[in-house]
């Protein structure tokens, strides 16, 4: 039999990688979530605890709350930045975009530790505020870039048309530019929301142990209580899948002006 190169073979290395390092570990997590740490037998206890214990529910609640807060702050800072960058009149957009991307060349742990040193030297006590600050700082580029691309894709004629029909600059922004850039806002929000609810490195480093998000809880309990930790991870995965499904729905509706990352 003669070997014939097909284009699909090029996907093989990644498929192997995907199977070994993502799919198989996920199966392990799924397995542990239904296995009792003490007896080693099948149990629903881990899942029930992850869904009903005060500790788990509280942490999920705070994770979603702080994730939403981080997303909101990133949007409030990121949208105006992306808008200004997308203006043709603004000549330096290339430089500014690079300035936003350059920090991403440095490992985020190093950046986070550097931030911690800055807080120490400025005598700012660590807590929820500093943790959110750190998340905003780390995830802001993920908000700006999708919004920036979707703003660039907007047909300038549409903005002129809304002005032509009587919209002042504020109305043109609210009724044309904002809705047309919605796909970018949705992708950006997901890109910020998903890592913020699951991060533990940033919150552990920058909260001074004062508050925990779901990522930290999973990390901590994985040493003492692997089944519980696995169950928490499954719940978090379900949450992330849910938010992705919602965004899919949204992007479907806005098929015309895609700015989505997926």
């Amino acid at each position: 039999m003669k070997f014939r190169m097909k284009r699909s073979y090029l996907a093989m290395p990644y498929a192997v990688y995907l199977m070994l390092l993502i799919f198989v570990p996920l199966l392990f997590i799924l397995f542990y979530a239904f296995v009792s740490d003490k007896t080693g037998g099948f149990t629903f206890d881990n899942i029930i605890r992850a869904l009903s214990s005060a500790e788990a529910i509280g942490t999920f609640f705070y994770s979603i709350l702080y994730g939403a807060l981080t997303t909101l702050i990133c949007f409030a800072i990121g949208y105006p930045v992306a808008y200004i960058l997308s203006q043709k009149r603004f000549k330096m957009s290339g430089i500014i975009i690079t300035l936003f991307i350059i920090p991403m060349w440095v490992n985020f742990l190093i950046r986070t530790l550097a931030l911690k040193s800055i807080f120490y030297s400025a005598d700012i006590p660590l807590g929820a505020g500093t943790a959110v600050f750190g998340m905003v700082y780390d995830f802001l580029p993920f908000m700006i870039l999708p919004i920036y691309t979707s703003l660039l894709k907007i047909d300038k004629n549409l903005i002129e048309a809304s002005e032509d029909l009587g919209a002042n600059p504020r109305a043109a922004l609210l009724k044309t530019i904002l809705p047309l850039s919605a796909p970018g806002v949705v992708s950006g929000s997901l890109m910020v929301f998903m890592p913020s609810i699951s991060t533990y490195a940033i919150t552990d480093t920058l909260s001074g142990g004062k508050f925990r998000l779901i990522g930290s809880l999973i990390n901590m309990s994985s040493f003492s209580n692997a089944g519980y930790s696995a169950a928490l991870a499954m719940v978090m995965l379900a949450l992330i899948l849910l938010s992705m499904l919602i965004s899919y729905k949204f992007n479907d509706k806005e098929e015309t002006q895609g700015g989505g990352l997926w």
């Binding site: 047909d155 002129e160 048309a161 032509d164 029909l165 098929e255 015309t256």
Partner: protein, 490 residues
């Protein structure tokens, strides 16, 4: 007289950051209720002119007046004009109703906000509040009614709930027209609205637009590069080229009495030849002398001669009426007539329309009636530039430095430079010339081509035997012996 002028452009110029004048000192008055078409090839400044009326572009200098008052500093959202955009520019996030109601909703919001402000000031609050309530209650119905009637005008009744992306090009265009019309603008601006429709639909829409214009009585300002469209629809045609108005007139005027060779070539098919007027009512072209109806030219003045292809009659060579004899070199059946190319004895090519077929290769005679020969003054007979002596044997003009005989002139001296049309040479490679530019106009003159090459802010006018295409990017060289320098005092 002046009070029925709705839009007036006064000495309007527009220069973009690159430095080229897109619109150059334009003066135009548009009467209320008129259907005016700005006609010209792409890049002639017609769309820029429209955008200045809409408010999307600010003139570099000059004034735009609406009903006698300057609107040059009024932002687009406060101008009582609406635009139909070339690519429709419908909002994809609204359905048909939402698109058409867009302007109405903004207007009604503004009215309600105004009323609220009045209530704060009013002494009798109850009456004002009642007014506000009725205003609010009526707004929705009013908008719905207006959208419905606008949809009826464009023939799309019951399309309110449709997604705009599900509509065909023609339907989208109708929605775009309805969206503009529903605001009852004083002037409707249309920027090549039909250019992306297919031919048959375009012809239908032309007639429909014309009918809408007649029924609504709104002033239409229409931009197109399609001369047939302009002739079909307009009350007045404004022919533009290189940011300058060439001719303003009725469709019949621009067709029958074009002011120059460019207009004649752009509007309808035509034969344009170089000719000479030895005396009144007599013109020489193609080596032959013809009687004509034109007077008022200098003795032996060089002129452009324009002949419409339908005005040249084909007959047998033996016919005593035949003034020109030639050979048929092409013949295409066009439905009503045959379009033929006839090469005369003096190697001049005529475009002729004739209902009787003639075979290719056949010898024929042709005659033209004197009043069908249109004589036009040449706008220029050579290239004239302002220049400066750049050194011994070097002179700078027209955006470049050329070799020339500079005897009798000093370095730095300002001079007039004259180059005959035949003295300019066009080369294929933009960088191989002294200056590079783009071909903006091509006229076939029977025996040769006349082309305009735009190099930055300078236009070189060239006679050439080579056939170029529009927008070809070419280089310009000039043989030193053709460059004539003149003292500025002279």
């Amino acid at each position: 007289m002046a009070d029925n002028i709705i839009i007036e452009l006064k000495n309007v110029s527009k220069r973009f950051a690159g430095g080229n004048n897109v619109v150059d000192n334009l003066n135009l008055r548009i009467k209320k209720g008129e259907f005016v078409t700005l006609l010209g090839p792409s890049g002639c400044g017609k769309t820029t002119t429209l955008r200045m009326i809409a408010g999307f572009e600010l003139p570099t200098s000059g004034d735009v007046l609406l009903n006698g008052a300057s609107i040059v500093n009024t932002p687009p959202h406060l101008r009582p004009v609406n635009t139909v955009f070339q690519k429709y520019a419908l909002f994809p996030h609204y359905n048909v109703f939402g698109n058409i109601a867009f302007g109405l909703k903004i207007k009604s919001k503004r009215l309600i906000a105004q009323k609220r402000a009045e209530i704060k000031q009013a002494t009798d609050k109850t009456a004002a509040i009642a007014e506000l309530k009725s205003l609010k209650a009526n707004a929705k119905n009013e908008i719905e009614k207006k959208v419905k009637s606008a949809l009826k005008i464009v023939g799309l009744s019951d399309y309110e709930r449709r997604d705009v992306n599900s509509l065909s090009g023609g339907q989208q265009q109708r929605v775009a027209i309805a969206r503009a019309l529903v605001n009852e603008p004083e002037v409707l601006l249309l920027d090549e609205p039909l250019s992306s429709l297919d031919l048959k639909l375009r012809k239908e829409m032309q007639l429909e637009l014309k009918e809408m214009h007649e029924n609504l009585g709104i002033t239409f300002i229409y931009v197109t590069h399609d001369q047939e469209e302009a002739l079909t629809m307009s009350d007045t045609i404004v022919v533009m080229k290189d940011g300058v108005i060439q001719q303003v007139g009725t469709p019949a005027d621009t067709y029958n009495e074009p002011v120059n060779a460019f207009v004649a070539n752009f509007i309808g098919d035509s034969n344009i030849f170089d000719g000479v007027m030895p005396e009144d009512r007599l013109v020489v072209f193609d080596g032959l002398t013809f009687e004509c109806a034109d007077v008022g030219f200098k003795k032996n003045e060089k002129v452009d001669v324009v002949l419409r292809p339908e005005d040249i009659f084909i007959t047998d060579v033996s016919d005593p009426a035949a003034q020109i004899t030639g050979t048929v070199i092409s013949s295409i059946f066009k439905g009503v007539h045959y379009e033929m190319g006839v090469l005369s004895e003096n190697a001049c090519e005529y475009l002729v329309q004739n209902t009787v077929p003639r075979k290719v290769g056949e010898n024929v005679g042709m005659y033209i009636r004197p009043f069908d020969i249109h004589i036009m003054k040449k706008p220029y007979t050579s290239n004239i530039f302002e220049g400066e002596i750049a050194g011994a044997g070097k002179v700078g003009f027209g955006g470049g430095i050329y070799d020339a005989s500079t005897d009798g002139f000093e370095t730095g001296e300002k001079v007039w430079v004259r180059v005959p049309l035949g003295g300019v040479e066009v080369v294929d490679d933009m960088d191989a010339g002294v200056v590079g530019g783009e071909i903006t106009t091509i006229l076939f003159k029977g025996t040769h081509y006349h082309i305009d090459v735009k190099c930055g802010n300078f236009i070189y006018r060239v006679n050439t035997d080579v056939q170029w295409d529009d927008y070809d990017r070419v280089g310009i060289t000039i043989n030193p012996e053709y460059i004539k320098l003149y003292k500025t005092e002279a």
